[in-house]
Symmetry: C5
C-alpha cells in the first residue's frame, strides 16, 4: 500500500535546482542490479540474450536489423549514460528517463522519438493498482525501453517476435514501438476489469450491509480513480501527437495502427470517467444508507421510550407514599390501572402504525 | 440484471497482447447458431431469405442491386472471416466487429465505411436497459450488419423495403445505412420515454413515501444514466464525422437525412443530460426527506420524554421512604402534586407549541 | 401540473421507424378545430381575417404584399399538408412542425428558412411554466407560423401591424420573423421575473420557517430550471446561426435587430444559470436548516434528560424498601436529599451554559 | 437589502412587445431631477459646470476640445432623447441606456462606440453590494456617460482633469473612456477587499461558534458571488472586444492601457472564482460543524442515560413491595447495592473512555 | 497565518483611481532596507557584490557581459524608479513590479520582456504555504529581478554561476531568465511534496480518529489548494506565451529548455488538481465518518434504553402501593418477576443481534 500512496508526487526536490540535463535518478531503487536484455531481429534472423556488459549492445547499432534493448532498473546512471551516449540520445531525454515522476508525454527530437508513459498492473494481494514508468526511445533502426523493475506486459510481444507471429518481424522499429504502446494500453483494460469487479462487489455490499470498512474502500477506490485519470488523460494527448507527428521515423503504414491504439485510449478514458461517476455516486448512497440506519435506530428507541415512559410515570404515581390517596384503597384500582396502561400502550402502537414506524 | 451490470468493461483481456487484426470474439455467446439473412433489392426487384451457407451471399456481391446481409450472433469467427474476405473488408474492421466492447465510432477505410454503435432497448421485466453492439459496413453496393443476438429495431425498415414504402427502394446503400442509423437512434427515444415515466413515478414516491427501496432504485437509475451517456456522446461524434466525411460512398442527397439524425442525436443527449440532472437532484431530495423524517421522530421522542421525565421525577420524590417527610401527611398533598404535574405538563405543551413542534 | 411533467420526452415512439418525411402529429391535441388567421399587409394596405378554408390563403402567395398565416392547432395533418404543398415547403419541415418534441433549431432550406422554438408562459394558478412549440417558415414574401393552441405572445405585434406603429409595416417578412422571435424571447423575461419572485419568497421562507412543503417547492423549481435550460441554450445557437446565415431571405438591415435579440437571449441564459445556482444553493441551506433544528431538538431532550435522570435515580434510591437503610431514619435526610438534588441540577445548568446550550 | 434582492431580473416586461427603438425607462427612479454635468477640456483649457438646460451642451458638439457630458438619473426620457438626437446617437443605443437591466456589452456603431457595464460599490451599513448601470457613448470628440443616481467612482478622474494631472488632458476622448472603464474596474477591487474581509471574519466564526446567523450570512454571500459573477464575466468579453475592435475612434496608443484594464478584469474574475470556491466550501464546513455538535450533544445524553438508567432499574427493583423478598431483610443489603451500582457506573465510565467519548 | 490569510486580495484600493503608470507600492513592507545584489559574468569573468548605491549598477548597462541585478524589498520607490529609468524600463512595468497583487503574466514590450509570477515556499512551523511576488525584466544583456523579501529559491543558480557549472556561464541572459523560472517552478514541487505528505497523514487520521481539529485542517488545506490553483494556472499560460513569443531577446536554442519548464508546469497543475480532488473527497469521508460515529453512539443509547426502560416499568408496577395487589402476596412472585425481566432482556439482545447492532 505504501508504494501506491507515495505515487502522487515523486521527490523531485532531489533534482530541483540542478542545471538541466544533469542525470539524477528520482524514484525508489527497486532492483539490486539492472537487467539488460537485447533482442535483435529481421524477417529471417532472430537473437535474444541477457547482456551483462552494456557494451555488447553497441555492435548492433549500425546493423540494418531491428534492435530492441530493454533495461529493467534505472538507478545505474553510468550504464544509462553510456548507452545514451552510444545511441546519441539527447541529454534531456536521459534526464527524463531517470526521473520516474514524469507526466506521460511524447517528444520529437528529430533523430529520436521519445515517449514516456505509465505501465499499470493490478496487485491482487494489496488490492491496489501498481504503476511503473516506461520510457521508449525510437531511433533509426532501434528501440530502447527503460523500466523501473523486472516484470512487464511485453511478454506476448516477445513471443510474437520469437515465433515470427503476426507482422512484427516484417515491420520496422516503429511498428515495434506501436506494439509496446498497445501492450501498455491493453494493460489498462486488464486493470479496469479488476476495478470494475471490485466496484460491483462493493455496490452489492453497499446496499446489503454497509460498514466502516466500506467507507474506507470507497475512499481507496476514489484515490485509484484520481491516479488513473492522471495517468490516462495525458496518454491520449501523447498518442494523438504521435499520430500527427511528421517524423520520418514513423512509417505511414503504422498510422492505421496508431489510430487503433488511440481508440483504445479513448475507451479507457471513457471507462475511467464512468467508474469515477459510479464511485462518487457510491459515497452518496453510503451516506443515505447510514442516515437510513440511524433513522431505524431512532425509531426503535422512540417507540420503546414513548410507550414505556408514560406507563412508568403512572406506576410512579401509585408508588407515592402519601397518607391520603383514596385510589390506593379502592378494591379494583389495580386492575383499572393495568387497563389504563394497556389502553395507553395500544393507542401508541396505533399511532406508530399510522406513522408507518411499525 | 447481471447482463447490464457487466456492460461497463468487456473482458478485453482475452484479446490483450495479440497482434492487431487477430480475430477473437470478445463478449458473451448469446446464440447457439448465427443467423444470416440476405435482402437484395432495387426499385423493381426484391428478395429476402435466410441463408444457411454464407457462400450463398457471395453471388450478390457484383450485382448492381443493393445487398443487405444481416448477421445475428458473432461467435462463429470462420463465418465472419469468410464473409469479410469475400467483401474485402479490412482485417481491423473484422476485429472491431467481433469485439463487442467497442466505443461507438465511424471509420473511413476508403473502400468501406465502418460504423459501430450500441442499439438499446428496454427490458420491462428486469426494469433495465439492454444494449447490443451493431456494426455496419457500407460498401459499393452492399451493407453488412452485425448484431449480437436475434431481435432488433430494424423490422420497420424491412417492411418498408418489402412493400416499397418510402424512398428506400429508390435509393442506394448509403440511404439504407442512414435508415438503419435512424432506427437505432429512434430506439433511444423509446427507451428514454420509459425511463422518463420511471423517473416521474419515483419522484411521486420520493415525496409521498420514500423507502430504502427508493434509494436502490435511484442508484440503479444513476447507473443507467452513466451507461446511456457513455453510449450516446460518441454517437454524436460518429454521426457528425459521417456527415462531414468526403467519402464517395455517401451521396450528397443523403446529407439532409444525416442532418436529421444528427438533430435527433442532439435531442437524445439533451434528454439524457436533463434526466441526469433530475436523478442527481433526487438523491438530494431523498437525503433531505430522510432528515425530515428523522427530525419528526426526534420530536415525538423529545416531546414525550420532556413531558414525562420531570413528572416521573416528582412521583419518585414522594415514593421515597424517609420517616420525616412532612408533605406525606398533609391532607391535600396528593391533589396538589397532581396539580403541579398538570401545570408542568401544560407548560411543556405551550413551550412546544411556541416552538412549532406540535 | 401534468402537462409540465410530461414535457421532457414527447411520445416520439409514435413516429419511430417511419420513413423520413412521413407526417405524423406527435403531441397532445389541445384544440377541437385548428384556427387559421391570415394577415396581409404592405405600407399602405392591411387586411386580417380568420379563414375557414385554408384555400383562401393561397391567392396571397404570389402577391408582393407580406402575408402572415398563423395556424393554431397541429392535429389536422391534411390542412398543414395542403398549406405546405401550396407554399412549396419541404416535406422534412412539415414533419418537424408536426412533431412537438423538437429541439429549438434553425434550418436553411434555400427557398425557405425554418425556425422552431419554444414559447413559454407562466400559469399563475398551477404555479408552473407552460410551454408550447412555435414553428416559423419564412419565404419569399410570407411567414407561416404554427402553434399548438390558441393564445400567444404575438398580440402586440398584431397591434403594431394593424395600427402601422413602428417599422413593421415598412419592412419585409424577415422583419416580421424577427419581431416574432423577439416577442418569444421577451416572453422568457416575463416568466423569469415570476420565477425570480417565487425564488425570493422561498428564500425568505427557507430561513424563517422551512417545511416539507418547501422541499417539494425547491424540487419543482429545480425541474423548471432544468426545463428552461433545455429550451434556452439551443435558442442561443439558433439565433446565432440565423445571424450568420447568408440566406437572401434575410436583409442586411435586419442584422442589427437580430443582434439585439441575441443579446436578450444571452441575458436570459445568464439569468437562468444564476437562478439555477440559487436554487441548488437553497437545497444546501435547507439541509443545513433541518440539521440545525434537529440539533435544537436534541439539545432540549438532552438538557431535560440529563438534569432529571440523575435526580430520579436519587429518588429511586430512597424509594427502596430495605430494612436497614440508616438515612431513612435521619431527621434531616429529606431536606438534605433535596439540597443534593438542587446542587446536581444547578451544576448541570452551569455545565450547559458553559457549552452554550442554554 | 430590498434593492439588492431585486437585481437579478429587471422588470423587462414593461418594454416587452414594444417595437425596437422605443424609449422606455426600465428600472427604479432614484432621483427627483436628473443632474447634467458638462466638462470640456483640451491641453490648455478647462471648464466644468452643472447645466440646467440640456441645450447648453449642444454648442460644444462641433468644437475640437474633448467634451464629457455626464447624466445622473435616467427617467427623463425627453432629456435623453434630445441629447441623443443632437449627438446623433442610434435609437437602439438610447433604448439600451434607458433599460437598466442590460448585460455588460460593447457595441460598435461606426459613428459611436457604446459600452454598458455595472458600477459596483459596497454599502457598509446594509452589508451588501450595490450596483448601478453605467453607459458610455464615445464619439468623435466627446464622451457621454449615463448613470442611475448621483455618486460614482469617477471623482479622481475629474480631479486629474481639473488639475491636469497625468496624461488625461493631453489625450483624446478614447483615453477618457479608458480612464472611466479603469475606474469602474478598480471599484470592483474595493468591493472584493471588503468581501474578502467579511469571508475571513466568517471563517473564523465558523470554526469557533457557528450559529444560524452564520448560515444566513453564508447564503447572502453566495448570492453576492452569483451576482458578481454575472456582472464580471461579460466585462471581460466587453474589454476584450473593445481591444480587438478596429474602430477609428480608438487610437492605437490607447491599446496598451486597455490591455492593462483587461489584466485587471481577469484578476477580478480570478478573485471572484476563488471567493466562490471558498464560500461554497464554507457551507460544507458548516454542515460538518453542526454534525460535530450534534454528535457532542448525543454523547452527553448517551453517557448520562447509559450510566443512570441501569442504576435506576436496580433501585426500582428494591422499591418493589413483594412480601417475600429476602434481600430486603439482609443487614448488608443496602451497602451491597450501593457497591453494585458503583461498579456498574465505573464499568460504564471505563467503557466510554475506551470509546474516547470522555 | 495572518500573512497567508491576507493573500487573496491585496489592498489595491491604495492605487485605485490614480493615473496609469503612477508608482505606488501595494503590499506589506517586509524589510527595513532594500538589498541590491549585482552579479556580472560571461564565460571567463565573474563578479558578485552587494551594492549600497543603485548607481553602481549603471556602469554595467552597456557592457557585453550578462548583468543580473536582484533587488529584495520593493518599498523604496525612488530606488526602483532610478533603476528603471537607467535601464529604460516602461513605466507600466514599474507599476506592476510595485503592485504585489499581480496575476502571473508575461508581457512583451519589445525592448524588454516582463514576467511576473509567484514564488512559493512552505513554512514548516506555520504549516502553511508562503508566497512572494517575483518580477523579472529581461533586456538586451541584463536581467533585473525584484522580490518582496530576502530569501529565495535562486541560491543554486548563483552557485552554478559562481562555479561555472552547467551551461549558464556560456549562455546569454535569456538562459538566465529560463533558469530563474525553472527554479521557481521547481519550488512548487517542493511545496507540493510537503502538502502531499500532509494529505497522507490526514487521510490516515481521518479513518482512525477524526476530530474537530481534522475538520479545520481540511478547511485550511482546501484554502491552500484554491490559492495554489490561482497561482499556477496563469503560470502555464505565461510560459506558453513566452515559448510562442517571437521576441529577439529569446534565442531559439532556449526554446527546448522552455518546453521543459512548460512540461513541469503542466505536471504541477496536474498534481494540484489531483490534490484538490483528494481534499474535497476528504470532507465527504469526514462527514460520513461523523455520521458513522453518531450512529454508533445512538446504538449504544438505544440498546441500553430499550433493555432497561421496560424492566424499570415492571419494577415500577410492583412498587405501587395499592392495597389489593394479589401478586404482592404470592410466595414466588419475586423470582418470577426476575425471570420475566431476564426473558425480556434476553429477547431484546437477540433482537439486536439479529439487527446486527451488537
Amino acid at each position: 500500500m505504501k508504494i501506491k500512496r507515495r505515487q502522487f508526487v515523486k521527490t523531485q526536490s532531489k533534482s530541483a535546482g540542478l542545471p538541466p540535463g544533469t542525470l539524477v535518478h528520482v524514484g525508489e531503487k527497486r532492483l539490486e542490479q539492472p537487467r539488460v536484455v537485447l533482442i535483435d531481429y529481421d524477417e529471417q534472423n532472430f537473437q535474444e540474450r541477457e547482456v551483462s556488459d552494456i557494451k555488447e549492445c553497441f555492435q548492433f547499432k549500425g546493423t540494418p536489423t531491428v534492435t530492441w534493448v530493454n533495461i529493467d532498473g534505472l538507478h545505474d546512471i553510468g550504464l544509462i549514460e553510456s548507452l545514451g551516449g552510444e545511441f546519441e540520445v539527447h541529454q534531456l531525454i536521459l534526464e527524463d528517463i531517470l526521473n520516474t515522476g514524469q507526466r506521460p508525454k511524447f517528444e520529437d527530437f528529430e533523430k529520436h522519438i521519445f515517449v514516456v508513459l505509465k505501465m499499470i498492473s493490478y496487485d491482487d494481494q494489496a488490492q491496489s493498482v501498481l504503476s511503473e514508468q516506461v520510457s521508449l526511445v525510437l531511433g533509426d533502426n532501434f528501440v530502447l525501453s527503460f523500466q523501473e523493475s523486472i516484470g512487464d506486459v511485453f511478454e506476448q510481444i516477445r513471443d510474437r517476435i520469437r515465433n515470427a507471429k503476426g507482422r512484427v518481424r516484417k515491420c520496422g522499429p516503429d511498428y515495434l514501438m506501436y506494439a509496446l504502446l498497445d501492450a501498455v494500453v491493453d494493460g489498462y483494460f486488464t486493470v479496469l476489469e479488476k476495478l470494475g469487479e471490485k466496484i460491483e462487489t462493493m455496490e452489492e455490499e453497499l446496499v446489503t450491509s454497509p460498514t466502516e470498512q466500506t467507507l474506507r474502500q470507497i475512499h481507496d477506490l476514489k484515490r485509484e480513480m484520481i491516479f488513473l485519470r492522471k495517468s490516462v488523460w495525458p496518454l491520449r494527448e501523447l498518442i494523438s501527437s504521435l499520430q500527427r507527428s511528421e517524423s520520418d521515423l514513423i512509417k505511414e503504414s503504422t498510422g492505421v495502427y496508431l489510430r487503433d491504439v488511440y481508440d483504445h485510449t479513448i475507451q479507457v478514458i471513457d471507462t475511467v470517467e464512468s467508474f469515477r461517476d459510479m464511485v462518487s455516486g457510491m459515497l452518496d448512497i453510503y451516506l443515505s444508507s447510514i442516515s437510513n440506519r440511524m433513522n431505524a435506530v431512532m425509531k426503535v428507541l422512540t417507540i420503546i421510550a414513548t410507550i414505556f415512559i408514560p406507563l412508568t410515570f403512572v406506576a410512579g404515581i401509585y408508588g407515592m407514599n402519601f397518607e391520603y390517596m383514596p385510589e390506593l384503597k379502592w378494591h379494583w384500582a389495580y386492575p383499572v390501572v393495568w387497563l389504563v396502561m394497556i389502553v395507553i400502550a395500544a393507542y401508541m402502537v396505533v399511532y406508530f402504525r399510522k406513522k408507518r414506524w411499525l
